[in-house]
């Protein structure tokens, strides 16, 4: 057994070390319920974004919680608030004064339209002239507008005193903000932080908790303090900030703070085919003899796959491959990091054009795989053309050299061929798991702990399926005709055991776009689905069959003919603004005033929602948060077990039985609780889930979010739509 375990581990490391680098967020979908620690280790090792991170700042996947945090987007906003709390407490009135100062400048300068505000933020001459006019505002008018800070201070003071009693001194500062700056400012900033973390700073997910916090705090300071950025946030939201001059530079600096202090030696760059010596941008004017292109795309010098270990050091070739394989967005981000400055649109276009030399023909069409050129197979003309492209966009000689040395303007040779091989390898492994002992492919339940978990074989199957599907997708995207259709068909097959709806739908979409026969796909899928259901009735514990049924039902539902509508047992949500039954809550404790009301509420959540709707509406409109928080906590305690819906654990000795009843029950809770329609005190009608997300924080927030996520995951597992 131990031998088996060791071989499994070593195989896992070997296979993941050479696996395609895929976005962690995809495989870390909570619905996959995979072994997060193993996935985390594989992803950190494989993900290009993690390659340049300083070791002491890199996540080490030591706990499931840490591994899980890789994909938890909400953590970013929370970390930002944790970091910003001290800033807000110390500078609340200063903050208001800063904003008011800007308002005064703009009002005085007649900068009152969105267009002029954008111009104010981005045009230094216009700003100087406007501020010059703004300074002509009289002192009295200026003092009058400054008075807003006193109003704010007065209201904040009252809120703070009330919040301190309600939520304690630690959370009071932010709770006291209420609707003052939370809506227009903090929410925008937290949203912005999430966007930055996910879209602009791909390395963020690779950081450990301490480094993540440090990075967030550094960015928060950089984002909040410059008045231009602050005002842009207030007036135009997160998107407005993108237009502010200097923002990209700030991001570039932030990215660089994560990276390893000692960067690897520049790798051998754009090498000509068959040459072992390196040739850089200056080669464009050198006397190197041109060579014929390789007859077929040769794989780039790759890491020996036979000796991957967790401590393997990154070679310059690895770095070159990593950069060469980046997608367009990541490539431009890498270019900004390498150059240490923001790029103009013209420069960005030039970099991408240079990158595609050797990959696309003169008309912009992808070259056949065999004709593509990359590191090691570039012709001299390719390098010259790349250099000219970059010079033409205004890059300096040093910058062109850097971009080409680091592989930003190039691509690995034989990249697609290698991905194809890796996808095939993962697919073969998937097939061998499916052909193996079916009793190993199951979901396990620990009765005493009431926890449902997947067997290691199921987790491995999901991972291999995901890897294979993504690999074939990439091949399908970069090829045409029958080759593309075949690759996308393979991607669909592999995706059916990935438990990832996103990868399933993307595969089918790709098949469709590449000219695949959708009628054939749908009919084949239907036939296969019927077979699987028959098999499932004979072998209900087989998790692989269950996964595939889930996937094929998703395909059927989305791409198949519409089903005959069936009367749904789930009650339709009724929009109600005011409660019909006035539920009594103790204002201080937040508890129901009588046990009978609590019983009414509990019954209603599972049935017609009449009473629960009134109770939730009353709690939402209460003067304090206590009734809402306590009611939510009571609901979670009653209907959830450690974040999972209780029904799963109490009736799951045979998960395939009674699925319909369980699904109905879970959808009812979802409709009557998370999606219950409430109208808050500011007049907004929205779901309880949305309302609670804006009002809760800390443990309350996390428990709610976990329960909702798990409930939705379970509903999806059962074939329903949350």
């Amino acid at each position: 057994m131990r031998l088996f375990f060791l071989s499994f581990i070593s195989f896992f490391f070997v296979s993941t070390a050479v696996a395609e680098c895929f976005p962690i967020r995809r495989i870390m979908d909570p619905s996959s319920r995979a072994n997060f620690k193993s996935l985390c280790q594989a992803a950190v090792k494989c993900d290009p974004a993690c390659q340049g991170i300083e070791t002491s700042k890199l996540i080490n996947c030591s706990s499931t919680q840490e591994a899980n945090s890789l994909l938890n987007t909400e953590n970013i906003g929370r970390k930002f608030l944790t970091c910003a709390r001290a800033f807000f407490v110390d500078s609340m009135v200063d903050l208001a004064n800063t904003i008011i100062g800007l308002i005064k400048s703009l009002v005085g300068a007649a900068v009152d339209s969105v267009t002029s505000i954008v111009r104010f933020m981005t045009d230094s001459d216009f700003r100087a002239r406007a501020l010059g006019r703004g300074n002509q505002m009289s002192e009295l008018a200026s003092a009058f507008l400054s008075g807003s800070a006193r109003n704010f201070g007065t209201e904040y003071s009252k809120n703070f005193t009330a919040a301190r009693k309600r939520v304690g001194i630690i959370n009071a500062p932010l709770a006291a903000l209420g609707d003052t700056l939370v809506k227009p400012f903090i929410k925008m900033v937290t949203d912005l932080m999430s966007q930055i973390a996910h879209r602009q700073i791909s390395q963020f997910r690779c950081l450990n908790s301490a480094a993540k916090q440090e990075a967030i705090c550094a960015m928060a300071g950089g984002l909040i303090m410059p008045p231009a950025v602050l005002f842009s946030l207030l007036k135009a939201g997160a998107n407005g900030v993108r237009g502010v001059r200097g923002f990209e530079g700030l991001m570039t600096n932030a990215r660089q703070t994560f990276a390893a202090r000692t960067r690897p030696t520049p790798p051998p760059s754009l090498t000509l085919s068959g040459r072992s010596s390196t040739t850089t941008a200056s080669a464009a004017s050198s006397t190197v003899r041109p060579r014929r292109p390789a007859a077929s795309a040769q794989p780039a010098p790759s890491t020996p796959s036979s000796t991957p270990t967790r401590t393997r050091t990154k070679t310059p070739e690895d770095e070159l491959r990593r950069v060469g394989a980046l997608d367009d967005t990541a490539r431009l981000t890498e270019a900004e990091t390498v150059l240490g400055r923001a790029l103009t649109q013209e420069e960005k276009k030039a970099i991408l054009d240079a990158h595609y030399i050797g990959i696309k023909d003169a008309d912009g069409n992808l070259l056949p795989l065999a004709e593509r050129r990359g590191f090691g197979t570039y012709e001299r003309a390719d390098i010259r053309q790349k250099a000219e492209q970059l010079y033409g966009a205004g890059f300096s000689r040093e910058e062109v050299r850097l971009l080409m040395e680091r592989g930003v303007a190039g691509a690995p040779a034989g990249d697609i061929a290698q991905i194809m091989a890796e996808a095939a390898e993962a697919s073969a492994r998937r097939q061998s798991l499916l052909a193996g002992d079916p009793s190993l492919l199951k979901y396990t339940e620990y009765e005493n702990r009431r926890v449902v978990t997947a067997s290691p074989e199921i987790k491995e199957l999901q991972l291999e399926s995901y890897t294979a599907s993504r690999g074939y997708q990439r091949v399908a995207r970069e090829t045409e005709g029958a080759e593309a259709i075949e690759a996308s068909r393979r991607a669909i097959d592999a995706s059916t055991t990935s438990m990832d709806p996103e990868v399933i739908f993307e595969s089918v979409d790709l098949y469709q776009r590449k000219g695949g026969d959708m009628n054939l796909l749908v009919s084949t899928n239907k036939t296969r689905l019927d077979e699987l259901k028959t098999q499932a009735s004979q072998n209900p514990n087989n998790g692989a069959i269950r996964d595939e049924i889930f996937a094929r039902e998703q395909i059927q539902r989305k791409f198949g003919p519409p089903e005959t509508p069936v009367a749904t047992p789930v009650p339709e949500p009724v929009i109600v603004a005011q409660p019909k039954t006035m539920f009594g809550f103790n204002a201080n404790s937040g508890e129901f005033t009588s046990p009978n009301l609590r019983t009414l509420y509990d019954r209603s959540i599972l049935t017609d929602s009449t009473k629960s709707r009134d109770a939730l509406q009353t709690a939402v409109n209460a003067q304090t948060n206590a009734p809402l928080f306590i009611t939510v906590k009571h609901t979670l305690d009653t209907f959830f077990d450690n974040g999972w819906p209780k029904k799963v654990h109490t009736k799951n000795s045979n998960p395939l039985l009674d699925r319909d009843a369980e699904l109905r029950s879970l959808q009812t809770i979802n409709q009557n609780f998370f999606k219950a329609i409430v109208t808050n005190n500011t007049g907004f009608t929205r779901s309880l889930s949305q309302e609670y997300r804006d009002r809760a924080w800390g443990g309350n927030y996390q428990a709610f979010e976990r329960a909702e996520r798990n409930l939705h995951a379970r509903i999806r597992e059962l074939g329903g739509t949350p």
Binding site: S91, S146, S148
Partner: protein
Amino acid sequence: MLITLFVSYVHAFIIPHRFTPAEQFDGVTQYQDKKAKIDLSVSPSKLTFEDLTLQGVDEASKLFKVKAEYGEMFGFKKWKATRHKLFDDPNQGRSWVIEGNYESLQGKVVHFLEIYWATPKRSQEFLFTSEVTAFDLEKYTEVFKP
């Protein structure tokens, strides 16, 4: 020493002593009259005696709608000035007094009296608020005694 400090404090304090200190934020000092349920925010001002003129008041009053609009970002909705007036007293300096009300986050109506005050030697800004009673601009000296 303490007596000296107390005396100078009494002379420097131009609001009735029923106002006691409350929360203090950077730049804004809060006071409360607990019995009358009036809150007071005091902050220093860059205003000079010469700034407080009819022309200045005329210009500043054009910004009422600006304050109403941007006030929503700071927790006071529907800010509205009902009356405003410039008082000029050779002994007490000049005071621009604004009377009005707004809506707090809790949806309560808050009455306010905003005073910009300056003498040739010093200047300050005061904001009196109450959820209980409205202020009367003409009787501003009941809460403010320069």
